[in-house]
């Protein structure tokens, strides 16, 4: 039996504690090296890389059309947004624009996927705070969206629905009907979940004024998405640099100036309502036409050659998702670089979780909305 190593003495009575990588509230494999002064956290150092697969290298070794499944597995709760992000870059690089109908289909699928991703976050955030039940209501709703995905493309979560220059299968009447039915019944269910959170005194007291993120800090750390908007900056890639057909639909960007946990919570819920609004408009405006670009069908799939470099930005559920593609004229990309929003959002945690209690740090890391497939790639 070996000697038990004594705990490192940090002086001033602090204790070093490892939270994670296997821990119920870290949403995967985040490891936080925490220095505790009693209950109060003095220093946090996130350690990541436990889910690292180096998707960028794998994409370099594959054809342009194959890389898509690795993007599915980055933000695996909102896979469609990742596909849109990659295809925005790849289609520009390869010079294969999608037909008009495909753009509308992609908008609908991306927004459905955004709702699905936010629902996962909403449920898991409740679990972080110790609220067991809303999690199930969120997942019941999410399951309806995944059912629509299954009907459209045959897979539930890692859909691989889109392909370069089009989508894999066309919409039919049943899918349109199902989506319409979903967006009709969803807002009422969303209100039930929303009220279950915000009417709760304890929920408010756990979140109001906790984890204040100043806008200057947020910009300097490259924070984007709902976290940035909750700090009072109305920046959304869908408005700032419209891709697909986001300039043809009418929606608002939710902004809050309160900068705390509750603001981030409210912004995400408002985003879900706005997504419903976008889907409602898009499903009516969908034009007829082909659902793929014939230049990228069948065996032409693997013969696409790209040269030069592109960078495409899209608004994923977590924030600004960017893909930087460099091609050297071959059938495989020369360099793929992914700007993952969760990665940047996580880097602000040491600032947010300084001098707060353990319980607050769990709530703060819950509002960052981490998905580790995307942080570690």
């Amino acid at each position: 039996m070996t000697e038990i190593t004594k705990s490192k003495d940090l002086g001033n009575g602090w204790v070093e504690l490892n939270i994670g990588p296997q821990h119920p509230s870290t949403h995967g494999v985040l490891r936080l090296k925490v220095k505790l002064d009693g209950e109060i956290i003095r220093e946090v150092e996130p350690v990541i890389g436990y889910l690292h697969r180096n998707a960028e290298k794998i994409c370099e070794l594959d054809y342009y059309c194959d890389s898509l499944i690795y993007f599915d597995r980055m933000d695996y709760v909102g896979a469609m947004n990742m596909e849109v992000g990659y295809l925005e870059a790849a289609e520009k690089l390869l010079g294969i624009p999608p037909p008009e109908r495909v753009k509308w289909i992609r908008v609908i699928m991306a927004e459905l996927s955004r709702i699905a991703a936010h629902l996962v976050w909403a449920g898991a955030f409740g679990l972080d705070l110790g609220m067991l039940t809303p999690f199930f209501y969120c997942f019941i709703e999410r399951e309806k969206i995944l059912r629509v995905f299954t009907e459209t493309c045959g897979s539930r979560q890692e859909t691989n629905y889109m392909s370069i220059g089009g989508v894999y299968q066309d919409f039919n009447d049943k899918i349109v009907y199902d989506i319409e039915e979903f967006i009709e019944q969803f807002p009422a269910k969303l209100e039930v979940i929303f009220n279950a959170y915000v009417k709760n005194d304890i929920f408010i007291s756990r979140n109001k004024g906790i984890g204040i993120l100043e806008p200057e800090v947020a910009i300097s750390y490259g924070v984007t998405g709902p976290m940035l908007r909750a700090s009072g900056i109305d920046y959304d890639v869908r408005k700032a640099e419209p891709y697909l057909v986001y300039d043809k639909v009418n929606f608002d960007i939710p902004v809050s100036y309160k900068k705390d946990n509750l603001a981030r919570f409210l912004v995400r819920f408002e985003e879900m309502r706005q997504s419903i609004k976008i889907i409602g408009q898009a499903i009516k405006k969908i034009p007829d036409g082909p659902y793929f670009n014939p230049k990228a069908k069948k065996s032409l799939m693997i013969r696409l050659r790209g040269e030069g470099e592109t960078y495409a930005r899209t608004e994923s559920p977590k924030g600004e998702f960017g893909v930087y593609l460099v091609g050297d004229g071959g059938v495989k990309p020369y360099r793929v670089r992914v700007r993952s929003p969760s990665f940047k959002n996580l880097s602000v945690l040491p600032v947010l979780a300084k001098d707060v209690m353990i319980a607050d740090m769990v709530a703060i890391s819950g509002t960052i909305d981490l998905v580790f497939g995307e942080v570690d790639r």
Binding site: I48, E56, K92, L93, G222, Y311, Y324, R335, F343, S347
Partner: protein, 152 residues
């Protein structure tokens, strides 16, 4: 004013500025004063004979986007951590996967991989056939080995 070697437009219509490595920090400080407050992405590209480092910056207020490129032959590039906080993790990641040494970085450790991992995976000459195994030592820190024997 900083000397810009080359200015062009990418396929997506973004402005690309190319500067020498020595002028990088000066140019970035200049751009930051002009309102480009958001360092979005740092990318290292292995061009086989040289390493290219690409910085994507944009301005939230003016909604403009600029790509800044610089090149290095000896893997060394000045760090931007003094200007942007977001450079911290990005530079660590590029050091980890690409082997670019950012001079002046306060905490240049590997981001994803264990500290003693051999090689930098995104280099074009990285040997994919050499399998490395990750183990955990007494203190909970990871380390990489080439033999699979003592894994848990």
């Amino acid at each position: 004013m900083v000397e810009i070697l080359e200015e062009s437009r990418g396929k997506d219509g973004r402005r690309i500025l190319k500067v020498a490595r020595e002028n990088l920090v000066a140019l970035m400080a200049n751009l930051k004063d002009q309102g480009f407050d958001h360092l979005s992405l740092i990318t290292g590209v292995d061009r086989k004979d040289r390493l290219e480092v690409v910085y994507h910056i944009h301005s939230l207020k003016k909604n403009e986007y600029i790509v800044v490129k610089t090149e290095t032959l000896d893997e060394r590039v000045p760090s931007l951590t003094s200007l942007y906080d977001s450079a911290n993790w990005d530079e660590r990641e590029q050091y980890d996967l690409m082997g670019i040494i950012f001079e002046g970085h306060p905490n240049l450790k590997r981001m994803f991989l264990p500290e003693n991992w051999a090689g930098h995976p995104l280099r074009k000459n990285y040997d994919l056939l050499k399998v490395q195994y990750i183990n955990m030592d007494e203190n909970g820190e990871d380390y990489a080995t080439f033999d699979s024997g003592d894994g848990w």
